[in-house]
Amino acid sequence: MSFEIAIDHRIGDRPIHLRAQAGAGLVALFGPSGAGKTSILNMVAGILTPDNGRIAVDGETLFDSSAGIDIPVARRRAGYVFQDGRLFPHMRVRANLLYGRHGDAPLSFDAVLDFLGIGHLLDRWPATLSGGEAQRVAIGRALLSGPRFLLLDEPLSSLDPGRREEILTVIERMKRDLAMPMLYVSHDRYEVDRLADQIIAL
């Protein structure tokens, strides 16, 4: 099992319930806006604590309310690619990429530059990048942090249509080349049909 998620959570008067077990490959969390998809990613990453439940990835328990387990965010080794990139504005691309550098990264620094085609951006400030460039740097930063699994939160939504194809191709290659559990949030049927090995509908 890659992702085992059983959570109950309440944000204001909006309840989130999810019972899901997923196999290998890319698992899509699919549903309309406001269904709590991002909240679920945040709970897997450890940014948000569920009221109740259990979360495990690749057999390792990250959170279990009944057993009192709650691994801190920094030690969960989630490669989180946020919807809006969230590059650190006060660091150049190079420093952003190296921020979480970890020996267990699936690809070396040079391989990541090559894989994502971002070698020419190293000395740029994030504010000067296009949406597609910023998203590729964000993916590179997540990969270099030595993640055990990837969380992708609508990585295409802030891009114009021309750039979407570019990132879609990158994600397809990541699926193929890195045998790593991936949880992909989207509300777009086309993306999900194209990328997902398994779909969890909310």
Partner: protein, 232 residues
Amino acid sequence: MILSPEEWGIVTLSLRVSLVAVGLMLPVAFAFAWLLARWRFPGKLLVDALVHLPLVVPPVVTGWLLLVLFGANGPLGRLFEQAFGLSFMFRWTGAALASAIMAMPLMVRAMRLSIEGIDRRLEQAAQTLGAGRWRVFLTISLPLSLPGIVAGLVLGFARSIGEFGATITFVSDVPGETRTLPIAIYSALQLPGAEAAVTRLAVISILLSLGALVTSEALARRASGGRTNHVL
């Protein structure tokens, strides 16, 4: 512009008092700013009010409170005397303390605004990349609040250079110890025929404050890698 040795002494004393005041207040003000920006606790409103007190209370009253607390017979005055052999009365250290207290609200406000402006989601992103609390603080929160820290330093320095009421109430007007620029200007105005001296000291005051402002703008521009170009 030619200054007499005595006037140079006034300028260097003012600089020393202001730099020590702002330097000592920096970590204290940042801690208050962080506390008020990031934490919820019972009595927060009271802490907020106490921090802002020197901004709203007449400076003479602040000076009197300092006298009560840090005077030779005040509880804190005795504590510092016994613990560190440090006395504030009629000394430049007292002038620095008064300046620091008067500068505190402005410094805290500038830093707090800047801390509140930090995108918390960047800190979360750093955590997901494996950074613990301290690393997140040192590499993300602190650099991103730098414009506010610089603004706080400039405002605090300018406030210190201009400090008059609390200082003269607390440590009086002692030449060479507590006679800072504003107090020297005020004293000179009491004497006939000192117009030239007053003009020189006033011009120095203006230049110091403008200098602080220009320096801070340059620092902020450099620290931000050219992304923002103003501090205040």
